[in-house]
Amino acid sequence: MATITGITLTITTATLMDDFLVRALAAGLGVAAVTGPLGAFVVWRRMAFFGDALAHSGLLGIALGLLLHIDPFIGVAVVVLAVAIVLVLLRRRRELAADTILGILSHGTLALGLVAVSFMDGVRVDLMGFLFGDILAVSTSDLLWIYGVGIFVLASLLVWWQPLLAVTVHEDLAAVEGVPVARVELLFMLLMAVVVAAAMKVVGIVLVAAMLVIPAAAARHWSKSAEQMAILAAVFGAVAVCGGLSGSWMLDTPAGPSIVVAALVLFGLSAVPPLLKASR
């Protein structure tokens, strides 16, 4: 019986597959390809909460986009980049502890975004979609954005890999060796901003940081070099997307959180062999 219903299900959904599920999968894989390598930098630079704070400011960007009648994607990228620069400048001043600054901006901008969106009379805003992702509603233009961003981010990472890594390992040393540290930092913030904007559609602003941190952390145990870890993080992210989407399809769970749960399971599995090795 189960197989028969399974087959009929496959047949009836074959046409649907063409649309939203294929688009969802394409969007998820496109996002995983960039959140993996960039997430590795987030882990190396101890910026997990920084990424979280940036993502939370995304809602303000959506409100801005609606207000100015521009694509919410652009609104998000602009606001997130602005918040990233403010964060860096505030941190340099060292008047408040880094976690305090992150706490203020992360939740402050999220609340501001929620309030701003509530003012949008007459515009129907799918708040849940923005907060937790709406991967099953990904449109062709969303896909274009995601892949445009993906190519830009991967190309930038390839070209700037060495200086980015050098600045990550030791800023002063890189500066003495002639790396334009400020420009590299700014590039990293720009990449973070556009990746947050792209990933928002898939897992939502509340869970974007998870896609940055969890696959990269899972890749750590299995990597002997930075490059390996970045690539493996992308692979793990892709596996999480596939696992999460099929889990969501079978169990009728929300897609974005399911992807993050799948990533979490992967992380748990990845930690087992090293633990066994350590206890031996």
Binding site: W44, D172, L173, A217, S223, K224
Partner: protein, 271 residues
């Protein structure tokens, strides 16, 4: 910054009247020093004396509030920063770390790794090597660009005593073989005293400078380091039981200078 006077012939670095402030606090003031090719110059001083600030100003990482830092044009600088805190989540081998230097000399990488004696751990995880091996890895990266000037900030930190002696011997050997200038910060006195051509003792201001034997008799130096200084001196004389020419008058001049600076300095910090 005043550029109208040229750098002394033979000098790689010339610091004159350097002052660095941060938020109205004077970090260092009235610092003069020169480093010539083939010369090892050690900066010593107690914790918080501004040694790292001085180094960072020489490297151009922080601006001088007043005074000048001149580097001979075209000087290649190799830098060994103080204490490297690596994130254990970043998988990295010493070989890759050395390669992070912008220098495009892949063939030379093995040569510098061997030169500092870490060829055998070059491909293990940088998180698993000893403190001494880590310092040598940093040194290898500094050497990759074939520097005219090596700038080392506490190169022997987190290294055991035998390792320290070896490290200073290695630095001397590098100087001898490459003929580069070395500007080095340290606080282990006796090792510095035996492996240095010139000592610059600072404590916010310039206390005294000159050859190790002269500096170690300077009252300001003795006041700063007390018993430890006497011990270092004994050790130094033990190593070098020949006599040196008297060149104390130069340092007496600095001594006068310093008295002046000291007043200024105290005024800024406590007033």
């Amino acid at each position: 910054m005043n550029q109208n006077r040229k750098i002394e012939p033979g000098a790689l670095v010339e610091v004159s009247g350097l002052e660095v402030r941060a938020k109205n606090r004077v970090l260092v003031t009235g610092i003069d020093l020169t480093v010539a090719a083939g010369e090892i110059v050690s900066v010593i001083g107690p914790n918080g004396a501004g040694k790292t600030t001085l180094i960072r100003a020489v490297l151009g990482l922080i601006p001088a509030t007043s005074g000048r830092v001149r580097i001979r044009p075209g000087t290649r600088i190799g830098y060994v920063p103080q204490r490297l805190t690596l994130n254990p989540n970043l998988p990295l081998s010493p070989r890759r770390f050395v390669g992070l230097s912008g220098a495009k000399m892949k063939g030379r990488r093995q040569a510098v790794l061997d030169e500092v004696g870490i060829g055998h751990v070059a491909d293990s995880s940088i998180h698993d090597i000893s403190g001494g091996e880590l310092q040598r890895t940093l040194l290898a990266r500094a050497l990759l660009s074939d520097p005219d000037l090596l700038v080392l900030d506490e190169p022997a930190q987190a290294v055991d005593i035998t390792g320290q002696t070896e490290l200073y011997a290695l630095i001397e050997k590098i100087r001898d073989e490459r003929g580069c200038g070395v500007l080095m910060v340290s606080h282990d006195l006796h090792l510095v005293m035996s492996a240095t051509d010139k000592v610059v003792c600072i404590n916010g201001h310039l206390c005294c400078a000159g050859r190790p034997d002269a500096v170690s008799q300077h009252p300001e130096y003795v006041a700063l380091f007390g018993a430890e200084a006497a011990r270092a001196l004994a050790l130094y004389q033990h190593h070098h039981d020949h006599t040196h020419d008297v060149d104390g008058h130069v340092h007496n001049e600095h001594g006068h200078d310093h008295g002046h600076h000291a007043h200024n300095h105290d005024g800024h910090t406590h007033g």
